[in-house]
Amino acid sequence: MSLAHRIIPCLDTDGERVVKGVNFVNLRDAGDPAALAARYNIEGADELVVLDIAASRDHRPTFLETIRSVARELAIPLTAGGGVANVEEGRAILRAGADKLTVNTAAIRNPALLTALAAEFGSQAVVLAIDAKRVGNRWEAFVRGGSVPTGMDAVAWAHQGVDCGAGEILITSMDKDGTRSGFDCPLTAAISRAVSVPVIASGGADTPETFLEVFRAGRADAALAASIFHDSIQGLGALKRYLGEQGVSVRQTG
């Protein structure tokens, strides 16, 4: 008996439609969020993440409606975020049906936001999302959808974020994102060693072997992927069967 490693499909949206791109650019339409959510719920996803990568204030009501329509399809946990800058925006996302929310840019500007969110909703509802890129011999945290460098060390920031109240870390490798060349195991392992909370690895998902690698060498508690699931390159059931055969604890479904 042990905690299962989670497989988490991610819906990057423009607030309304699922979009995808490589290295955070060249976005194109990839479908209806609620329809994809319904599919992943049945196929055995352990959790779903839905992000508003545009995160513009004008689109916020649309994104909240998207969260509601996605939540209606799910009997599994839902994490949502994108541009959350204060407790009230966090509350709106949770009220719309998310169980957890992600914060990124606003938390770097104001780490006390993590403390405020954790005090209000509990750490289990606060996921610190970090977009990191290799710079020299370390990883630097980037904000605003990966477009603005912060000068902050991603591993140190993860540690600080947990001290402030984050209950989980979602670490995205910008070097790997969209490349289908495997997760960034050294980055994920460095984050995993630095914090006591669960770590979700993101960016670079490809074959079942890449998931095995990030759970073993990367010490990830969960792995997130988008396009390989959206495009049916990888089925969730087959992926979990493979991991189970390799001795990784996973929740088998169906």
Binding site: R6, A71, I76, P77, D99, G122, E168, P198
Partner: protein
């Protein structure tokens, strides 16, 4: 069937409502003492902070009606923080009294594994359980918490191991509770809710 979801300003009410709705079971939100008085079963959902939950129940004058409904034999299902609220006290809020349906306390899970205990885990069954009827032994359930009741005497019917052994399913007469979220636990979670609803039906 008249199932009241105790509404106290926080919690995961909509997801519990949706999960019951998928089973074809109607529910209503109860935020006043009167609304708790006339129902076939009660569900106390919960996410957040033990102290905030107890204070919120107190402000709405729901503590006494909840206890009275349980004394009358109305089935009650506590979920996650709703399970913890049934105990006397919690490490999370040492100054706040719980519903004290069980004399033990809720503890912070000790260091050992990653915390919060977040994700899908299996159960170790200790006693026959009505909630777990028809649920496979190796089924996984969704947990998200850092506090737990380590002991509940005879009422502890299934346990989970993460950092420590803790009560995952609690049953005593008409009182039921799960530390995990059945409403987020896929088909096996739905079965747990159905089993609870059947308890309410069996009584009515």
């Amino acid at each position: 069937m008249n199932i009241a979801l105790v509404e106290y300003g926080a919690g995961n009410l909509p997801s519990v409502e949706r999960a019951l709705g998928r089973l074809g079971v109607a529910s209503y939100r109860a935020s006043t003492p009167e609304a708790l008085a006339d129902c076939d079963a009660l569900i106390l959902p919960g996410v957040g902070h033990f102290g905030a939950l107890m204070r919120s129940l107190g402000e709405r004058s729901l503590v006494k009606p909840l206890r009275e409904a349980v004394s009358r034999g109305t089935p009650l299902l506590g979920i996650c923080l709703g399970l913890q609220a049934m105990f006397a006290t919690s490490d999370e809020a040492p100054g706040d009294a719980g519903l004290a349906m069980f004399p033990q306390k809720v503890s912070a899970l000790p260091p050992g594994d990653r915390l919060p205990h977040m994700g899908w885990n299996q159960l170790r069954r200790a006693r026959p359980s009505k909630l777990l009827e028809g649920v496979p032994q190796d089924a996984y359930f969704y947990f998200a918490h850092s506090y737990a009741a380590l002991e509940a005497g005879e009422a502890g019917v299934a346990y989970c191991d993460h950092c420590a052994s803790f009560v995952a399913v609690l049953e005593q007469e008409n009182i039921f509770a799960t530390q995990f979220h059945p409403e987020k636990s896929g088909p096996v979670g739905a079965r747990i809710l159905l089993n609870f609803v059947r308890q309410a039906g069996a009584r009515g």
